[in-house]
């Protein structure tokens, strides 16, 4: 099976990531560079959080579930799964008695 030919966006993205990794390597070798990189990462994360908050507000206003709502459901499912596992263990232990 031949590999799917990459489009211009994919190639650009790959080259961008490779360039960023090369730049990060150079920057990380210097403690001051590390500090600058950390601050840049912090700013990017803060921007992403703010964007998600705005997105959440818009979704809520439109009566649609937000990412936070999905996360809550996923958390409840995980809790249920764990409780079922615990119950199954108890049943097994009872059977063995």
């Amino acid at each position: 099976m031949s590999e799917k030919r990459k489009g211009i966006p994919e190639v650009l993205m790959e080259q961008g990531v490779a360039a960023a990794a090369r730049a990060a390597r150079v920057v990380l070798e210097d403690p001051r560079g590390q500090e600058v990189l950390a601050a840049a990462v912090g700013a990017a994360q803060k921007g992403k959080r703010q964007l998600e908050e705005v997105q959440g507000m818009v979704m809520r206003a439109a009566g649609l579930p937000t990412k936070g709502d999905y996360d809550e459901v996923a958390k409840s499912m995980a809790r249920l799964k764990r409780k079922l596992r615990d119950l199954a263990k108890q049943v097994d232990a009872e059977r063995k008695r």
């Binding site: 990794a21 950390a38 990462v41 912090g42 499912m77 799964k81 764990r82």
Partner: protein, 142 residues
């Protein structure tokens, strides 16, 4: 010791906790972290996950989670996800964790800034791992 087993995790944590610089490395970081090996259909069909909590400059609680989804319930301050080959590269020093995180190959949830600031303390984990013989599942099943 088999990678991602409870015995392996116990040994790694014992070595990490014995390091004199650990307190400085952990100061100011979030309370807990989960490391997840993504499902791969071969070695980890259900994924694998380990969780640890720090307090007072050392790791005080840790365990291998029976189900990767337990991470969702625990909601740790940091979640680091990667497939097995990448974990292997990271743990054997063939890949740089910061570069891997910035390029998106390792998915990090949580305050990445704090982790980048502490990248210089990587030697603590490297030294611990050198002392713990690690058997990766792709090597065992060959």
């Amino acid at each position: 010791m088999r990678f991602a087993s409870q015995a392996w995790l116990d040994a790694v944590v014992r070595e990490v906790n014995a390091h004199a610089d650990l307190g400085r490395a952990l100061a100011g970081l979030g309370a807990d972290l989960a490391a997840v090996v993504e499902r791969d259909g071969r070695h980890f069909p259900h994924g694998a996950a380990a969780w640890g909590r720090q307090a007072g400059g050392r790791i005080v609680e840790w365990r291998v989670l029976p189900d990767e989804d337990d991470v969702l319930e625990l909601e740790p301050a940091y979640v680091v996800r990667a497939p097995l080959p990448l974990w292997k590269d990271l743990l054997t020093g063939r890949a740089d964790p910061v570069q891997a995180a910035l390029s998106g190959r390792v998915k990090v949830k949580g305050d990445l800034e704090g982790l980048v600031r502490r990248a210089g303390y990587r030697y603590i984990v490297d030294e611990a791992l050198r002392k713990v013989p690690t058997e990766f599942p792709d090597e065992v099943s060959r």
